[in-house]
Amino acid sequence: MILNDKSLKSDERAIFALRSLYDKYGYSQYKMSKFEEYDLYVRNKDFLISPSVITFTDTDGRLMALKPDVTLSIIKNCHDIEGAVQKMYYNENVYRPGGSGTFREIMQVGLECIGDIDGYSVLEVVLLAAKSLESISEEWVLDISHLGVVSEIIGRLELSDGDVRKVLKCVSEKNVHGIGEICGDSDAAKALRTLVSTYGEPKKVIETLRTLSVSECCIKELSEIAEEIASRGLSGNVRIDFSVTDDIKYYNGIVFRGFINGVSQSVLSGGRYDNLLARMGKSFGAIGFAVYLDRLEELSSNEEKYDVDTLILYDEGENAGNVSRAVSRIAETGASVSAMRKIPEKFRYKKLLKLSGSEVTQLENNA
């Protein structure tokens, strides 16, 4: 089969590219059922992007859900083997409310590395996140943060739980003035403000981090990644930005978000989630990410402005063989073509041809 790249939509093209990328790095595809027991989500509601889940009662009376998320199902079935990790990726439909609040079926591709996570596993997943973005578009940015750093500095402020939530929200909004309102002008507050206003080239950000006396282990983890990024010439695309935050109930350590020019929201989101595993009674670690393919719809190309490249008009009574041959000739060149006796209303084409007998004349060219 010859695959015509043009007939693939941007999300479909991304699925192919991502699957072959993850296969290459030894990740195996994890296939699963569309349903999961609702109980799994009730216990980890905040981990979901939206708490709304489509539920139904199965024939045996169990309350089931159409999967709003894949990660929880994967973790549930994982076992610990010391010194080893399980590498998996998935390409599944999930069901959750979209922008307008009603449920949508969303195609999601994601990757999980679960088990005895070390520096290499973290680096590999971060680099795969970068390569995933690279395979979708030339203009991409991966923002990396370390929740250890953020919670350490917020910890110094000795705030109430409610205020910690507010401050975390300010951090995610790069809202420096908001942090000032809540935390005042103490040294710790100043450190947090510096942290939020420092972002960009990894090595530069790490230099600033050192001035904030952050624990060495966090700096080391970030520096290792930064060095590898620099040596691969990705410093322009991969940045450190502490406004990437996630719920610390579930996430810890490195977290990241990916952006593509032309898409208004992040298209990739992930990080280290040992805390989620601990909540589920597992003793090992995990890091992974998901790519939100539905958001790539915004990347539509100009080609979609036309219903068809070429429209052939023919008269009533025209020999069917003649029409078919004319259509085939154009289709073989790779352009899309349609033959009709009348132009349908609002039909858009690049070229308009007229067929009479075996003769073809061009009437319009809008290309």
Binding site: V141, K174, H177, F259, N261, S264, Q265, E298
Partner: protein, 212 residues
């Protein structure tokens, strides 16, 4: 092709003031201040496109990426909680979100409190934190008459000078949160147009310093 910076400005006096700050940062578009019914203005030389939108819609334009940056009141940001960066407090359009009621109002905690407001989310968050049972009555305008007609016990609304309240025999009972205009940016645009956006933030910071 130069990438244009798309800016959503709130229609009205605030928007004009804000435009002057953008212009000072090098993003001028003089045509904008001329009397006309046009809503979109472009200046290719400075690489900027401005559009006038309803103040309460600015956050939506920015969150969805139709605008890279915009200026929106904190009230709108609290009410709609858009996923955007809030980069700067302009300290313009200052007012407060407050609970107001007729001057003889006594809050009876045994009863469900009827609250009329345009800002349902802000009102319900506020009373949830206080653990107070309320009934929200969502209105789109003339909120002040709700307690007078017995439609509600109190209102939650923006108070600037308090004149409208006084003229309707209402007074402020509690302040929920101070409000002012904020510079917001789309999270994705911020990655790809960071230089232009940073220049604007820098200019705003400078203008704020000068005003002090």
């Amino acid at each position: 092709m130069k990438t244009m910076l798309n800016v959503a400005l709130p229609k009205g006096r605030l928007g004009e003031k804000v435009y002057n700050m953008f212009a000072a940062a090098g993003f001028s578009c003089p045509e904008l201040l001329e009397e006309s019914r046009k809503l979109i203005f472009e200046n290719e030389a400075t690489g900027v496109r401005y559009f006038w939108v309803k103040p309460s819609d600015v956050a939506i334009y920015v969150e969805r990426g139709a605008a890279d940056i915009g200026v929106a009141g904190k009230d709108i940001l609290l009410e709609y909680a858009p996923d955007v960066y809030e980069l700067f407090d302009l300290n313009l359009g200052k007012c407060r979100m407050a609970v107001a009621a007729p001057s003889n109002f006594r809050d009876n905690p045994e009863k469900t409190l009827k609250v009329a407001t345009k800002f349902s989310r802000i009102a319900s968050d506020y009373y949830r934190r206080k653990g107070r049972d309320i009934d929200i009555i969502h209105l789109n305008g003339s909120i002040e008459i709700a307690p007078i007609l017995g439609l509600s016990d109190v209102i939650v609304d923006i108070v600037e000078t308090g004149t409208t309240l006084r003229e309707n025999n209402l007074e402020v009972f509690e302040t929920i949160v101070p409000i002012s205009a904020r510079l917001i940016a789309n999270k994705s645009s911020f990655k790809f147009k960071s230089q232009q956006i940073e220049r604007i933030v820098e200019q705003m910071r400078k203008s704020a310093e000068d005003m002090k």
